[in-house]
Amino acid sequence: MNMTLIGTTLAALLTIAVYSFLYKDNPFYKFAEHLVVGVSAGYYLVIYYYNFIDPTVVSPVFRLRIGGDAILLGGVDWWMALIPGLLGLILYARFFPKIGWVSRWALGIYVGGYSGLGIAPVMQARVLDQIRGGALPVHALHTGQGWTNLLLVVGLLGTLTYFFFSLKHKGVLGGLARIGIVFIMVGFGASFGYTVMSRVSLLIGRMNFLLHDWLRIV
């Protein structure tokens, strides 16, 4: 038996074990579930070490000691590489209840940094670009495009109104919000229907694996 066949058989048995969950929870599923949790934890541990910790911290710091050459990191001396290492180690303070609060320092930089990072791109992509895309010319109502644009604008305004929290949804506001929810529901239906195909493709892919790659009956 060669490794490919062993691998394929292993993968096939695990595939069937996962599908057995559709009937009911059972030992085979529990086995696959715990196995993949363990394997994925090991996988990420190794990948994170080699992709992040080694190149940004371990290599710059230790290669200097061993080789004696000054290693530059982004144009700054090697001690710069100690900073992320220290911040990382600070996180482990939480294992010691007395100094656990120190880990908040690293967390603060992390949470704050990413909060700030998101602000401008979100304004650009989710707000400004959408406003630009949403204000369409609607005056040419003698054409189909004019009507389409009108619907797009009305739908957009309605949806925005639906998410207006400062006033009760009554009167004109209520009417617009109602139009909004109608558009939202049609959109949800469309997304739902649209996704069916890609999910079924995945199932077909697994079936192809079982019947073709493993059993070779089709």
């Binding site: 996962v18 739908g155 998410f163």
Partner: protein, 206 residues
């Protein structure tokens, strides 16, 4: 020290990351790239915390002879093998890659494909024409589903066109509206985090 330092660090890091977007000066951008690399490294360090928690929970199950502790052993074997193999070599064809390709990929892929079943049962159960909104949702889903497969063309020539229209007009309009609202909500929350108004991430609100 316990409250003010983390909040100050949070504010400084946040403001720097927010304004670097507008400053193309190379020295600012160099710091931006450096800080980004640090944050990613921090995340890699943090990963161990989760793994420790996972190991502790399952060691506890084994130690206290909880029912089903056999599965905790399965978990440890998977974890041990991956770490052991991983530090030896990760090239295609290595034992590490073998485990990844023949254990993690198929199990995760199969879990993903369960959605084909669930999408059907959810549709059967929940798509009821009870109200105008529910009816529209149901109709839109049905038309789009038909428009995606060859049978739709056979049923009626206009079904693919109707599908495109639904996707490009009502769907687009509502997605855009939701996106703007979500964007504003995100920005407001980000600002509150930087200013220390929203501080659930460090536990509680005191």
């Amino acid at each position: 020290m316990r409250r003010h330092v983390p909040l100050a660090l949070c504010f400084i890091a946040g403001v720097f990351m927010a304004i670097q977007y507008f400053i193309p000066h190379p020295s600012v951008q160099a710091w931006y790239e450096r800080l980004l690399a640090w944050l990613q490294t921090l995340l890699a360090f943090a990963f161990l915390i989760g793994t420790v928690s996972l190991v502790r929970l399952h060691a506890h199950k084994i130690g206290h002879k909880v029912a089903g502790r056999g599965y905790s052993w399965v978990l440890f074997v998977g974890l041990g093998l991956m770490v052991g193999f991983g530090f030896k070599g990760r090239a295609p064809g290595s034992p590490f890659d073998f485990m990844f390709q023949n254990v993690q990929v198929p199990i995760e892929g199969t879990m993903f494909s369960l959605l084909a079943f669930y999408i059907a049962s959810a549709a059967f159960r929940a798509f009821r024409a009870r109200t105008l909104e529910a009816t529209l949702l149901l109709l839109a889903a049905t038309i789009v589903m038909l428009g995606r497969v060859p049978v739709g063309d056979l049923l009626h020539r206009s079904i693919p066109a109707a599908t495109d229209w639904i996707l490009n007009v009502p769907n687009m309009a509502s997605k855009r509206g939701i996106m703007i609202g979500v964007g504003l909500g995100m920005m407001a929350t980000a600002l509150k985090i930087m200013l220390g108004i929203e501080r659930a991430w460090m536990g509680g609100t005191d």
